[in-house]
């Protein structure tokens, strides 16, 4: 078939010539029923609110840099400041590697959180079709029961 083929005009031509012949009351009713089903379908699919999660992930990313805390070296004891500085430099040397590891870990965690957020934004609806089906069956049985009960 041609890429440009569109049978919409052919249908419109048929409808113009036989409109009265096409009138079918149950079909018109079915259109109204379908409109109601469409509304119901839309109401049942509610996208999750991801804004709080986005804010939390952004805040975590901002806090994801670690530093070695500054230790006050002043001392009232003679030579105490020099001892503090020497110990501080020694501890800092050990902690620098740890901070580097923590930074790398934080960056990886932030990337993971961002990836999870992306997946959630793309859509993983939490729904149990089997349970929904059972509930609908029960609902229709209940409706039948109500109709049958005077």
């Amino acid at each position: 078939m041609s890429e440009e083929l569109d049978d919409a005009a052919a249908l419109e031509a048929l409808i113009r010539t036989r409109a009265d012949g096409y009138r079918l009351e149950p079909a018109a009713t079915a259109v109204a029923d379908a409109a109601a089903l469409w509304d119901r379908s839309r109401q049942r699919v509610v996208p999750p609110d991801l804004d709080p999660a986005r804010t939390a992930v952004a805040q975590a990313a901002e806090r994801g840099r670690f530093t070695v805390p500054h230790v006050e070296a002043s001392s009232r004891l003679p030579g105490g400041a020099a001892i503090h500085e020497a110990i501080g430099r020694s501890v800092e040397r050990h902690l620098n590697d740890l901070v580097t590891q923590l930074d790398a870990y934080a960056a990886a965690v932030n990337e993971a959180l961002a990836a999870v957020l992306t997946v959630l934004s793309a859509g993983v609806p939490h729904e149990h079709p089997d349970l929904v089906g059972q509930l609908e069956t029960l609902q229709s049985r209940l409706d039948e029961f109500r109709r049958a009960t005077p």
């Binding site: 409808i15 012949g21 018109a28």
Partner: protein
């Protein structure tokens, strides 16, 4: 464009009955589904519909459509989201009717006219 072979085989081996191909914008997809519902309910129970999403849909919208298909109990609809090269051509090759827009008429009228057009096309194929 070469036809997508797996689609051709699937349509030949698995899809029975006349195929109506819908290549419409996202706003028209619900109407296409209703027309298919009316077509199979009142006119041609064997009719199949292939509804191609011509633009990517965000998930809530797609889920609503899937939900709508379930609500209508439509088992004869193929909602195609991710096209591969040659697939539309394979659909067109198999389709009896191709629609690129919703005809300007009531949906019940469209369904009735669609049934008639399918019949006309089938007769012309049979006599050819």
């Amino acid at each position: 464009m070469q036809l997508h072979e797996p689609t051709v085989v699937h349509l030949r081996e698995r899809v029975r009955g006349p195929v109506v191909l819908w290549l419409v914008d996202r706003a028209s997809v619900p109407s296409a589904l209703v027309v298919q519902h009316l077509l199979t309910t009142f006119h041609r129970s064997d009719a199949q519909a292939i509804v191609v999403e011509t633009e990517p849909l965000p998930w809530p919208e797609r889920r609503v459509l899937q939900r709508f298909v379930e609500e209508l109990a439509l088992t004869s609809v193929w909602l195609v989201a991710d096209l591969v090269p040659g697939q539309v051509e394979a659909f067109e090759d198999r389709a009896v009717v191709v629609l690129r827009r919703i005809p300007d008429a009531g949906l019940d009228m469209i369904a009735a006219a669609l049934a008639e057009l399918i019949g006309i096309r089938e007769d012309s194929c049979a006599s050819a």
